[in-house]
Structure formats: structure tokens, C-alpha cells
């Protein structure tokens, strides 16, 4: 039984291998692919960084980028074409427009709000120590020397 199962697995492996071809990534595709999310659902990479051979999203996406480049389209036009077909989810990061701008603005806004809170905290709790007069300084210095001499003993 086990022998049959393993033979079947070997056949499967051969089948899977036959179904795959190498995806060689041209350098120019990496530039555009870095702005596009791989939407295969199995990874969180970009079209440039997805390393799954024969990925059902990235492989055709790369082919399309190459073809559009050869046809003379610039980076912006290629990205716009992907957004037109797939929607904004085609982008690896939300666009800095419409509600997408919130993605970019909220973290620095919160950091600034936090800094404001710290400024408020410091202003509220800051209380510089009063100046000491000469007599006080001498008193504390003597106390320190007394302690230190005890420590040396």
C-alpha cells in the first residue's frame, strides 16, 4: 500500500515539475513590481519579490509588465493599468489619495500627538529644583565626604 502511495507521489512530483517553468525576473520588472502586490493569496510579497515558481498571479503579472515595457509604456502607465484591472488592491501600499491618505497620515499624526502629550507632561510635571545657597552646599558636601570616608574604611 505504502509502495503504491509513494509511487503515486513520485508521479505527482514529476507532474508538478512538468507544470512549472522558470521565472527569470528582468531587472526593469523589479522596479515596477515593487509597487504592485502579489495577489495570489499565499504570500505577502510584491510582484518583484514573490519567489513562488509559476505563481498564478506574479508570473502573468511579470509577463504583462515586460510586454508593456517593450510596447513603450512607462512605469506609471503600467501601474495604472494594473489598478484599472484589479482595483487599488493591486498596489503594494495604499495610494496617497482619497481615504488611502489616512494610511500614510495616521502614524505620523499619532506620533506628533504623542510628542504633544509628552510636552504637556513635561510642562505639567517639570519643577526645577530650587537654587541652594552656599551654606546648604557646604552642608551636603560635608555629608557626602563623611559617607565616602566611611566607605573607605
Amino acid at each position: 500500500m505504502k509502495k503504491w502511495r509513494n509511487s503515486f507521489a513520485l508521479l505527482m512530483m514529476a507532474g508538478l515539475c512538468l507544470a512549472q517553468t522558470g521565472d527569470l525576473v528582468p531587472p526593469e520588472v523589479r522596479r515596477v513590481g515593487d509597487r504592485l502586490a502579489c495577489l495570489c493569496g499565499s504570500c505577502k510579497n510584491t510582484v518583484a519579490t514573490c519567489q513562488m515558481l509559476g505563481c498564478h498571479y506574479t508570473a502573468p503579472a511579470r509577463a504583462k509588465i515586460t510586454a508593456m515595457h517593450k510596447a513603450g509604456a512607462d512605469d506609471e502607465a503600467i501601474v495604472a493599468d494594473f489598478v484599472k484591472r484589479e482595483g487599488k488592491k493591486a498596489l503594494a501600499a495604499p495610494p496617497a489619495e482619497g481615504f488611502g491618505i489616512m494610511a500614510w497620515l495616521a502614524p505620523p499624526f499619532m506620533a506628533l500627538a504623542g510628542a504633544g502629550l509628552i510636552a504637556w507632561f513635561i510642562r505639567r510635571h517639570r519643577k526645577p529644583a530650587p537654587e541652594l545657597n552656599e551654606g546648604d552646599v557646604a552642608k551636603y558636601q560635608q555629608a557626602a565626604e563623611r559617607e565616602l570616608s566611611r566607605f573607605d574604611e
Binding site: A9, C17, A37, L53, K89, A92, F121
Partner: protein, 670 residues
């Protein structure tokens, strides 16, 4: 046997409820026997969970395929250790792991505090057990690991199980989930103590000491769990990514950030009696972020490569979170007078301020990560359109934050408490700053143009220098006074104040990790289809495919390639990347081969055999400096352990009253 398991969970659930009730009523009515009974119920809950766990693990190891869980997550041919790890391979089992670890924590807390913290122990027990009851509810009702396969009214057994996901059949997966869970689950202990102290208005510092110690332990487990996950991802997924900002990775990172913030700001409370409200918020935030992380992975609210199958248990988590957060806010607001600050801030440039900024940066990173993780859901709810938030967004937001944090890691520890003079600043920072600027200039001149990498290397030197300076100065003084060598001086110095110097070691570990992270800017890779006997080039390496073999084990069939790497004609390494197909799941998985060195890893993945030419397709990568990440972890580990060793010299943090400040600093210095 299955009935005993299910019964044990149900009994534990009932006893958990009893423990909560007995502890609270005992404290309210001042009935010691009820309090003691509540504590004993914790021990009984632990024993019952051990029984349930034992039964599940036994069923897994003996391949008892009458159990639906065993049939879904293991198969006969798996090695015994992967059968054991199937325990946390699925929803029900991993929830049982939560219960298992939580019951151990409960037991340890009860046994450790038989004579300590008596006034607040009933509340500590009640908090622990309320959390335990929540997780037992899940295991007892919607996600029982003791469901049986049945046909009609008869229990049936399938001949073999589906097997564990092959990606999880890797050694780090044997320990990554339990260790990460130890960190997650464990934070319930500091939370319970914080809540107990709040309810009973604990005077003194003893409870802070206990809370901080537990927080260090759980923080250490969280760090280890995250790093083990990164190590697994690096070695198993076939493309060397150790962190891709996946939602599940992100939610494991969130409590780490808040607990790191807590470990820093708690020093303000110990030493100055300040930031008490904030510390309560951080402890609570960390605990609820741990629960939130579990909710995210199990509710299917965001798409993740790691998530468990979507289920209805997300609603249970939501209810627990809402109730827990509401109760905590109520408790904090009701006791603001107890949490009042005992001291004032003397100067903006001081250790106190550095903690404030450290907390700001950590929390900013936490918010950014949470925001990025949830933004697709929020955006869809608001606009009706899906968006993707992937690594480019997270990197753009979080890298500057991380670099600022790295800078603070160098600056903070060298600032004195209360205030720092300009002279002191100059004395401490002049040389580290000059050194790092010089190194950045040198690296730029050598051709490194990546701005973040340059800044990271510069900051790493800066922070490393300041830490080294602290050790050198202190150890030098001790060595001179005690007539010992510098190394013995360092050991003595560390032993005298383990917390401070252990903390420095942890910082050093983080610095070393950052060196590794910066290396990612110089990654190189190629994918080639290459005939046997032919070679290809990647960077300085000449890689020759010298053979392709195949074979089989009980669990999978394999094909591996032998690749000879040489540098400038000299043999360098032989690598054996492998492809496997697991017999039960029929899922193909790569087993990469890595030649690890300090300067860079040579990483080879045998991806496939091409359809037309039947040639091996090899993915080869160079990952510079990545080993430093793992080395950094070991330094962090040593630092954490040092922090937990009691200091030779007992530090007493007197809540000093500031009597005054010398008008002329030099006068006192004389």
C-alpha cells in the same frame, strides 16, 4: 478515554469559575478559607488540564484516528516528535496549549505566593482564572479537541490521518509555538498583579518588583518566539524572508513593543514614583494585545498566510476583549488618586525624558503596525474597496521609527537621572558620535549608497560604543580598586547591578540584530534553469550543479541537487537543496541548503525541474550579514538571563526628595 478528556476540560471549566467566585467573595467577605479554596481550585484546574492534554498527546502519538483532531493533523508515518507538535498544529489543539501553559503559570503563581502578596492574591487568582475560564470555554464548547469521527451514532476510525502541514514539519516549529505562547500567555501574570495592586491599592514597591520580573520572563519568551518564527521562515519558505509584515507576524510584534515600553517606563515608577497610570495602561495594553493577536489569527478578519481556518470563535474573543478592556479602564479611572505621581521632572534633558521618548517611539511603532494591519479592513468598511498594505508601506513607516529608537538606545542609558549638564553630554557622546560619523563617511566613500543601511551602520557603532564605554569605565574602576583584570572587573560590575548591565547586553543584542537587518539592503538573487554539469554565477560564487538524486522516506519522497560552490576557482562549499512531496498531503515543499558565514549566507533552493528541458531550476541567493540577527538573539538571551539574576549589591530606590540644586555645579564637583 475521549470522554475522560472532555470531562476533564468541563470540570476544569467549572472549577475555574468556582476559583474566580471563591477568591472574590473570600476577599470581599474576608473569609480566608474561601481564598485558600480558590487557590486550591487553581491546582485542581492545572491537574485536570494535564489529564486532558495527556489524553490528546497520547492519541496523537498512538495515531488514534477516531479523534477528529488526530485525523486532521497527523498521520501514521510522521516521526513521533512531529506527532507531538501536531498538538498545536490546529485550532483546537493550540487552544488547549494556551490552557496548558496558562494553568502552569497559575500553579507557579499560587505556589510562589503562599506567603507573599497576600492581600492582593485573591484578585490575582481571580484574574488568572477568569482568563483561564475564557480559554476553557473555547475548548469545552466551540473548539473541543475531543470530538470523535462518527457515522450515524457509531464512532469510526479512518485508516490514516491527513498529516501535519509539511511547512510545519521543521525543528523550530517544535518549539516556536510553545515558546511564543509562553510569552503571550505569560503576560497575564503581570496583568493580574497590576490589577490586584490597583484593586487593593498596594503600598510600596514589592508588587512592581514581582510584576517587572514576570514581565522580563514573558518578554524574553516573546522575543525568543518571534525570532524562532523568523528563523523558521528564513529556512523553510525557500526565499529567505524572515519578516514579511504578515498580519500574524505583526500581531505577535505588537505586545512585544508595548511590553518593551513597559520594561523601560517601570523604572520611572520604581525610582521616581512617576508614570504609574501609564504603566498600568502598558501592562493592560500588552495583555489585551496578546488576546487581540489570538483573536486576529483565529477570526479570519484579515487574510494571512499563517492564520487558522476561519471560525466563529472570533466573537468569543471580541466579547472577552470588550469586557476586559472596559473593566480595566473603569479600574484605572476609579483609582487615579492612588496612581498619582510622587515626583516632578527636573529637566527635559534627563534619563526620565529619554524614557518618555523611548515609550513614544515604541508606541508609535505599535500604532503604525496595528494601523497597517487593520487598514485593509478599515478601508473596505469605509470605501467599500479593498486595498493592500504590504511590506513597502510597513518598511517606509517603521524603518525611520526603528532608527530613531536605535539612536535612543545609545543616548538614553548615558543620560543621568534628574538632569544632565552640557559638559556631561559632551563627555559621553563626543567620541561615539565622531566615530560613527567617520564610519558612515568611510562606508559612503567605499561605495555604499543605501541611506538607511548607512545610517543603521553608523547608529550601530554609536550605540555599541556607548555601551562599551559604560562597561569599560565601570569595569576599569572596579579592576583598579579590587586589583583584578578588566574581564573580571566586567563580570563583577555586571554582578553588582545585573539589571542595568543585563539591560545593556540586551541593547547590544538589538544593535547586533540591526546590523543583520541592514544587510538586507544588499541581498542578491538569481533564478536559473541549469543543466547538470553546467554552472552559473551569483556575485563572487560560481555554482555548478553536479548531480540530481531522488529517493523516499516513510513520510515523503525527495529529489535533491548537489551544487558545488567555488570562489575564484577554489572550492568553497557543497550544498544539497531538496524538494519533497509529503505522502499524505501531496504538498511539495523545498528544503533549502544554506552555507552560513558571518559576512553572508549562500542560500540555495531547488525550486523545480523545468517542463521542456528537464533541467533543474535553482534559486540562489546571497543574504549579507543575516547571521548577525541570530547572533544578536543569543546576546539578547544572555542579557535577559543576566537581568533575572539577583544583583550582588541590593539597590534600594529611595523616593528621593529633591532638596535643591547647586547654583554652580563646578563648586560641588570640586
Amino acid at each position: 478515554m475521549e470522554n475522560i478528556g472532555a470531562l476533564a476540560i468541563l470540570l476544569a471549566f467549572c472549577l475555574g469559575i468556582y476559583s474566580v467566585a471563591a477568591s472574590l467573595v473570600g476577599a470581599w467577605k474576608k473569609k480566608p478559607f474561601l481564598i485558600a479554596s480558590g487557590e486550591r481550585a487553581v491546582i485542581a484546574v492545572w491537574a485536570l488540564i494535564m489529564v486532558a492534554t495527556g489524553i490528546l498527546v497520547y492519541a496523537l502519538v498512538t495515531s488514534d484516528f477516531r479523534f477528529a483532531y488526530v485525523a486532521s493533523h497527523s498521520n501514521r508515518d510522521m516521526p513521533w516528535y512531529y506527532k507531538v507538535s501536531s498538538w498545536w498544529g490546529g485550532q483546537e489543539g493550540s487552544l488547549l496549549l494556551w490552557n496548558f501553559l496558562l494553568s502552569w503559570y497559575g500553579l507557579v503563581v499560587v505556589l510562589q505566593n503562599r506567603r507573599k502578596h497576600r492581600p492582593m492574591m485573591p484578585y490575582v487568582v481571580a484574574t488568572l482564572m477568569a482568563t483561564q475560564v475564557f480559554f476553557l470555554t473555547l475548548n469545552a464548547f466551540p473548539a473541543s479537541p475531543f470530538q470523535m469521527l462518527a457515522q450515524g451514532r457509531n464512532i469510526v476510525e479512518v485508516p490514516d490521518g491527513n498529516g501535519l502541514n509539511p511547512l510545519l514539519q521543521y525543528w523550530t516549529m517544535l518549539i516556536h509555538p510553545p515558546i511564543l505562547y509562553l510569552g503571550y500567555v505569560g503576560f497575564v501574570v503581570p496583568f493580574a498583579f497590576a490589577l490586584g495592586s490597583l484593586i487593593t491599592r498596594q503600598p510600596g514597591d514589592q508588587w512592581i518588583f514581582t510584576t517587572r520580573r514576570w514581565a522580563i520572563v514573558t518578554w524574553f519568551f516573546q522575543s525568543t518566539g518571534i525570532l524562532l518564527g523568523a528563523g523558521w521562515s528564513y529556512a523553510v519558505l525557500g526565499w529567505g524572508g524572515y519578516w514579511v509584515w504578515d498580519p500574524v507576524e505583526n500581531v505577535s510584534f505588537l505586545p512585544w513593543l508595548t511590553s518593551t515600553a513597559f520594561l523601560h517606563s517601570v523604572m520611572m515608577q520604581e525610582k521616581k514614583g512617576m508614570m504609574k497610570v501609564w504603566n498600568m495602561v502598558l501592562v493592560a495594553a500588552t495583555f489585551f494585545l496578546c488576546i487581540f493577536g489570538t483573536f486576529m489569527t483565529r477570526s479570519g478578519i484579515v487574510a494571512s498566510v499563517h492564520a487558522f481556518a476561519t471560525s466563529n470563535i472570533g466573537n468569543y474573543f471580541l466579547v472577552f476583549l470588550v469586557l476586559g478592556i472596559a473593566l480595566t479602564i473603569y479600574m484605572i479611572l476609579g483609582r487615579l488618586d492612588y496612581l498619582k505621581s510622587e515626583a516632578e521632572l527636573e529637566s527635559v534633558v534627563s534619563r526620565e525624558s529619554s524614557f518618555l521618548f523611548n515609550n513614544l517611539i515604541l508606541l508609535a511603532s505599535c500604532f503604525a503596525t496595528l494601523w497597517g494591519t487593520l487598514f485593509p479592513v478599515i478601508s473596505e468598511a469605509v470605501t467599500g474597496e479593498k486595498v493592500s498594505v504590504d511590506a513597502p508601506w510597513f518598511n517606509r513607516i517603521n524603518i525611520p521609527i526603528a532608527l530613531f529608537l536605535l539612536f535612543l538606545t545609545g543616548v538614553g542609558p548615558l543620560l543621568a537621572w534628574r538632569r544632565v549638564s552640557a559638559e556631561g553630554l559632551k563627555r559621553n557622546f563626543k567620541w561615539p558620535l565622531l566615530g560613527s560619523l567617520l564610519m558612515m563617511t568611510g562606508l559612503a566613500a567605499a561605495g555604499i549608497r543605501h541611506p538607511y543601511a548607512l545610517i543603521t551602520f553608523g547608529l550601530c557603532l554609536f550605540v555599541g560604543w556607548t555601551i562599551g564605554q559604560e562597561f569599560y569605565k565601570g569595569a576599569g574602576a572596579i579592576a583598579k580598586k579590587e586589583s583584578m583584570n578588566l574581564m573580571s572587573g566586567m563580570v563583577e560590575l555586571t554582578h553588582r547591578n545585573t539589571r542595568r548591565y543585563g539591560g545593556y547586553l540586551v541593547h547590544m543584542g538589538i544593535v547586533i540584530m540591526f546590523i543583520g537587518f541592514a544587510g538586507a539592503a544588499f541581498n542578491r538573487d538569481t533564478t536559473v534553469e541549469v543543466e547538470q554539469g553546467r554552472s552559473f554565477q551569483l556575485g563572487r560564487y560560481d555554482l555548478k550543479v553536479t548531480g540530481v538524486n531522488s529517493g523516499q522516506t516513510d513520510n515523503y519522497v525527495w529529489q535533491n541537487a548537489t551544487i558545488e560552490a567555488s570562489v575564484e576557482g577554489k572550492p568553497y562549499a557543497t550544498l544539497h537543496p531538496e524538494r519533497r512531496i509529503y505522502s499524505q498531503s501531496q504538498q511539495p515543499v523545498g528544503a533549502v541548503s544554506i552555507h552560513r558565514r558571518l559576512n553572508e549566507d549562500l542560500y540555495i533552493n531547488f525550486a523545480a525541474i523545468s517542463s521542456e528541458a528537464q533541467k533543474p531550476i535553482i534559486q540562489a541567493y546571497i543574504f549579507p550579514l543575516v547571521s548577525w540577527i541570530w547572533i544578536g538573539y543569543w546576546v539578547l538571551l544572555i542579557g535577559s538571563v543576566v537581568c533575572l539574576i539577583p544583583s550582588k549589591v541590593k539597590m534600594s530606590y529611595a523616593r528621593t526628595e529633591v532638596v535643591g540644586m547647586a547654583g554652580k555645579h563646578e563648586k560641588v564637583a570640586k
